[in-house]
């Protein structure tokens, strides 16, 4: 329960954070801490340096810009859950936020931290994929944008390089025809099969988390897991995960339609 020793820096702004990150090879960024700190306490992660960005105020925001909504990477799950703007213009996100962990976790955990940690069973990847969001990454060469489909590279690996920091998530405004249906692993609350559905006109977009080594967009409503190999553990077999993914996809589509 005690991490190994580390150096600690608290940058004043994002640029300083990126600078610290490129100066220290064995560094990890600390946002809400609810993925990093447990890993450090178990000594599964032993970063030589921790760069604490939790007090950088201007990384936490939810604002409209044209037909998009911009969310700062440090925005907490709680702020997303309770955002009147999102409930009105992109209700999928508050719906998903409410399913994350518990109240204490939601008060501290950030959407950016969760996305970069990329736990295969975290909730955010599903709606991010279903919404085809755009993610902005800050590095020493400035900012670059990556699409949701390019963001999740592999199991617990994203397009964010070791010396970069996720800065903003850009999502489209949607109608009310959205839904998130999740079967949770009873101990951790993480998803065994979490399915986010966005109905855009005659297009149905489905993002799935918890089922495979990385989150994915389902290419077919009839066979959600056609292109992936579901994970297998003591909480759910691969067969059961695939089944739940299918059931939850159907239920999410029905729910989204009923909200039109």
């Amino acid at each position: 329960m005690i991490p190994s020793s580390f150096d600690y820096f608290r940058p004043q702004n994002l640029d300083e954070a990126v600078k610290f990150l490129s100066q220290h090879e064995d560094a990890k960024v600390l946002a809400g801490g609810h993925s990093l700190i447990p890993a450090m306490k178990l000594r599964l992660a032993q970063p030589g340096t921790v760069i604490d960005i939790s007090r950088i105020g201007d990384l936490s925001y939810i604002r409209e810009q044209g037909d998009k909504i911009l969310i700062g990477a440090m925005t907490t799950h709680h702020d997303i859950e309770s955002s009147a703007l999102l409930k009105e213009k992109c209700p999928l996100l508050p719906e998903v936020a409410a399913c994350i962990g518990d109240v204490q976790v939601r008060n501290k955990g950030t959407i950016g931290g969760s996305l970069v940690h990329a736990d295969p069973a975290a909730d955010w990847p599903a709606p991010i994929l279903a919404l085809d969001a755009e993610l902005e990454i800050a590095g020493s060469n400035g900012r670059r944008a990556v699409s949701a489909s390019e963001f999740f590279v592999d199991m617990m690996q994203t397009a964010v390089q070791p010396n970069e920091i996720l800065s903003e998530i850009r999502i489209p405004k949607t109608a009310k025809s959205v839904a998130y249906v999740k079967s949770a692993q009873k101990a951790s609350g993480f998803a065994i099969a979490g399915v986010a559905v966005v109905i855009f006109g005659n297009q149905t977009r489905i993002g799935v988390t918890g089922v495979a080594a990385k989150p994915f967009r389902a290419s077919s409503v009839e066979n959600i897991c056609a292109d992936v190999e579901p994970l297998n553990d003591i909480h759910a077999s691969a067969e059961f995960r695939a089944h739940l993914a299918q059931v939850n996809a159907r239920r999410a589509v029905e729910l989204a339609r009923s909200r039109e």
Binding site: M1, I2, S5, L42, K186, A187, S188, F240, V247
Partner: protein
């Protein structure tokens, strides 16, 4: 002694304990610091079974801040083995030492200990210790462990069988011959991890000048530890002080003397400084005792009208790799309650205790009785199903009538009092039985999986008559009226959440006629509570409370003598009521404790041969255990596609005799229901086929949370127990014992239209879904 007009007993008073707990100002072991205190950390084996070829501690010792690093070679011959109080004729004991010797035999087995100036250095030093392990084949499955060519958990014992035990009474063969039917079912009672919110911890401090040792430890049993520790550390009983500070939950997992506690005492002596150890959650999951883990094969001989003729059980108990205090005893408690609340003349239980390379099992909320109740209540449903009878009628058919108490069971117990029919009726009333049956019909017609489950249970607690308790089953109490007329109550029980600081004050306030705010209840420190047998087995109020009552009687008798003297009359002319001693017929001529107490302590005007002071202590020896009982009725609905279970209704009627504080009773039942819910629906301790512990953190070990608790309707009947002057039966474990089978039976009932008659615990969504799929498949 005339009973006072009841002011407190029976009232749902808020607990005296709660303000400090809620405000975070209670003192737990980790809140305590002693000058010069050192910190301890344990290196534990990641292998389930391995030879330890060598341990290199040089680098660890060289880390600044490290005072010492010790392995088995340096401490094992200086400390005794971990005690086991339960003896079986053929028990093979591997004699668990404080640290691993040449072999580690479970994941989490401590192989080295670091002592350092702070806990951070101690933890860092662990990473510097190099252990040369040579993995050995590990035993994980208890049934496979009994096969001929199985690897051995302890090669020197020659077998994985720890012991065999049989309980038999009546003519079981005749019963089976006469039977119209023999109903057979195998049932698994899965291993559970207690997961008290506060893990273990202790501080050991030795005074070299006085030769005394003080051990503060998060324990349920300071007195039993004081009796057992001398054998491990060589300090005499009368030089030991054991203190249980605020304890964050025990549930049986702290009903033990652990290697770590003894080793900390040894290190404190060896290093000449106080030594503190606080367990991490992972250590708690690996090396604090586990509960349950029985595989039971039941055969019940019945007549076609549902009358039970004989019960046979062959049980395999997976004990883990060694014995803690009560490890072998737990399945024998199952045997004692084999027949549940039913009449049955013939019984036979054969237990095989098996060693596997896992953590030891021991008492865990219910300790053997949840296993018995779950089994018999599942069997009653299976019997009803096989005979085509109503599950309620099958139970009623075999109930003893209220007039048949005290009721002798074929397992050798005498149930003190009971009215199983009464509790059942009340539960049916509360839940709205007929309406519930209709609700099930309607739901089923609509294609829903809706089930109703009941359990009619009895359990044994308030342990107990000393003849059946290894260290004695009495309890000690002391009541002292101070010179200021404030009251100090000392109990030899060790409450750690049960609420006796409140309930004992209620009893004393009523019986002494003093304001409840003037009473303090002390416990947990062997220097303060000189004697005791501590808290477990739902005994504190029944047995401990009775000792307090004995003290009060003595004090009132003494008060009468002094009052008579002051009122210039004879003691037999004095009456006592509501804190007043007065002359019979002249109530205005009275004195209260406020007047008596200073007189007694200043002793200037006391009668001849009158001892000053107002203190009484007593030992209460119970004549029998007590047998709380009740009925739980549960309705659930299952989502066919996901296997998830939702509660529709939860009703429980529990009879624990007269209730001192209904709020405490409700809390215990509520907690028991939570425990059962966890066990039935999602809790399980998982070791893989290499005996690697998979559920070592809350990431994987699922616990019930607030939102999982269903809305429940609680009721009670009151059937006093003749076993103690308070008539109390105890309720700490009854909820867990009654709820598990009720919930399980409800789930199976929901699945029964599909032809499913039994599924083992835990009833996980995937297990339910697979059973539904299989049933669909076989229907094609």
């Amino acid at each position: 002694m005339a009973a006072a007009t009841k002011k407190y007993v029976g009232q749902p008073l808020k607990r005296v304990e709660d303000p400090r707990l809620i405000k975070g100002i209670a003192t737990y072991i980790d809140d305590m610091t002693l000058p010069g205190m050192l910190h301890v950390a344990f290196l534990r084996s990641p292998y389930a079974h391995a030879k330890i070829n060598s341990i290199n501690t040089d680098a660890a010792k060289a880390l600044p801040g490290v005072i010492g690093v010790f392995t088995g070679a340096e401490v094992n011959d200086k400390c005794g083995v971990v005690p086991c109080a339960s003896q079986m004729p053929d028990l093979k004991n591997p004699n668990h030492k404080v640290l691993a010797g040449g072999r580690a035999y479970f994941v989490g087995h401590a192989v080295a200990v670091v002592v350092a100036t702070d806990r951070y250095v101690a933890r860092d030093a662990l990473d510097l210790i190099e252990v040369d392990y040579e993995p050995l084949p590990a035993v994980s499955d208890p049934q496979k462990a009994l096969e001929k060519n199985s690897p051995l958990t302890h090669p020197e014992l020659g077998s994985n069988t720890a012991f065999t035990w049989t309980l038999a009474n009546g003519d079981i063969d005749a019963a089976f011959k006469q039977a119209d039917r023999v109903v057979h079912q195998c049932m698994i009672h899965q291993r559970l991890t207690p997961m008290a919110i506060e893990p273990r911890g202790c501080i050991a401090s030795h005074h070299p000048g006085e030769g005394t040792m003080t051990l503060w430890t998060s324990t349920q049993i300071p007195h039993l530890i004081r009796t057992l520790l001398p054998g491990m550390i060589g300090v005499a009983e009368n030089k030991l002080r054991i203190v249980a500070p605020e304890v964050g939950g025990g549930f049986g997992s702290k009903l033990n003397l652990y290697a770590e506690e003894a080793l900390c005492c040894h290190l404190a002596m060896r290093l000449g400084a106080p030594v503190k150890w606080i367990e991490t959650r992972r250590e708690n999951a690996m090396s604090t005792i586990h509960g349950r883990d029985q595989i039971a094969d039941y055969e019940i001989a019945v007549k076609k009208d549902g009358t039970l003729l004989g019960i046979k059980s062959r049980t395999i108990a997976d004990l883990g790799s060694y014995l803690q205090l009560l490890t072998p005893a737990i399945p024998t408690l199952t045997g004692l309650m084999l027949g549940g609340c039913y009449k049955c003349k013939a019984v036979r239980m054969d237990v095989t205790g098996v060693y596997t390379n896992k953590m030891a099992t021991d008492a865990y909320r219910g300790a053997g009785r949840p296993e018995a109740t779950y089994a018999i209540e599942r069997m009653m449903d299976v019997i009803a199903d096989e005979l085509g009878l109503d599950p309620i009628k099958v139970r009623q058919k075999n109930f003893p009538k209220p007039g048949e108490f005290p009721f002798n069971t074929p397992t050798g117990l005498t149930y003190d009092s009971g009215n199983y029919q009464g509790a059942l009726k009340k539960a049916q009333q509360l839940v709205g039985w007929e309406k519930l049956l209709k609700q099930r019909d309607t739901a089923r017609k609509a294609g829903k999986l809706f089930g109703i489950g009941i359990s009619t249970y009895v359990e044994i607690c308030a342990l107990g008559p000393s003849k059946m308790m290894a260290a004695g089953g009495w309890e000690w109490g002391c009541v002292r009226i101070e010179m200021s007329a404030k009251v100090t109550v000392i109990t030899g029980t060790t409450p750690h959440g049960q609420g006796q600081e409140t309930s004992f004050a209620q009893i004393v306030a009523d019986r002494l006629g003093v304001p409840i705010e003037d009473i303090v209840v002390m416990r947990g420190d062997t220097a303060v509570a000189h004697y005791g047998r501590d808290t477990y087995g739902s005994r504190a109020t029944a047995v401990g409370g009775s000792a307090i009552v004995m003290c009060i009687d003595k004090l009132v008798a003494k008060g009468k003598i002094l009052a008579a003297h002051l009122l210039r009359t004879k003691p037999n002319k004095i009456e006592f009521r509501d804190g007043n001693f007065f002359i019979k017929g002249s109530p205005k001529k009275s004195v209260t404790w406020k007047q008596l107490a200073p007189e007694s302590y200043l002793a200037k005007n006391i009668p001849p041969n009158f001892e000053p002071g107002f203190e009484a202590s007593s030992f209460f020896e119970p004549s029998n255990c007590t047998y709380p009982f009740g009925t739980h009725i549960v309705a659930v609905q299952i989502d066919r596609e996901t296997g998830e279970v939702t509660f529709v209704k939860y009703t429980a009627v529990d009879d624990c005799g007269p209730q001192i504080n209904p709020l405490l009773v409700e809390g215990q039942v509520q907690g028991g229901i939570a425990h059962s819910l966890g066990q039935v629906l999602f809790e399980r301790t998982v070791y893989d086929e290499n005996a690697q512990l998979i559920t070592g953190e809350f990431m994987d070990y699922a616990m019930p949370r607030a939102k999982d608790i269903p809305e429940y309707l609680l009721g009670s009947t009151v059937t006093p127990s003749p076993s103690n002057p308070l008539g109390i039966k105890g309720v700490g474990e009854a909820g867990t014992i009654g709820a598990t089978p009720a919930i399980a039976n409800a789930v199976i009932d929901a699945l029964s239209p599909l032809g499913i008659r039994h599924l083992d615990l835990p009833l996980l969504p995937e297990k339910i879904w697979k059973a539904i799929q299989q049933a669909k498949g076989s229907q094609k």
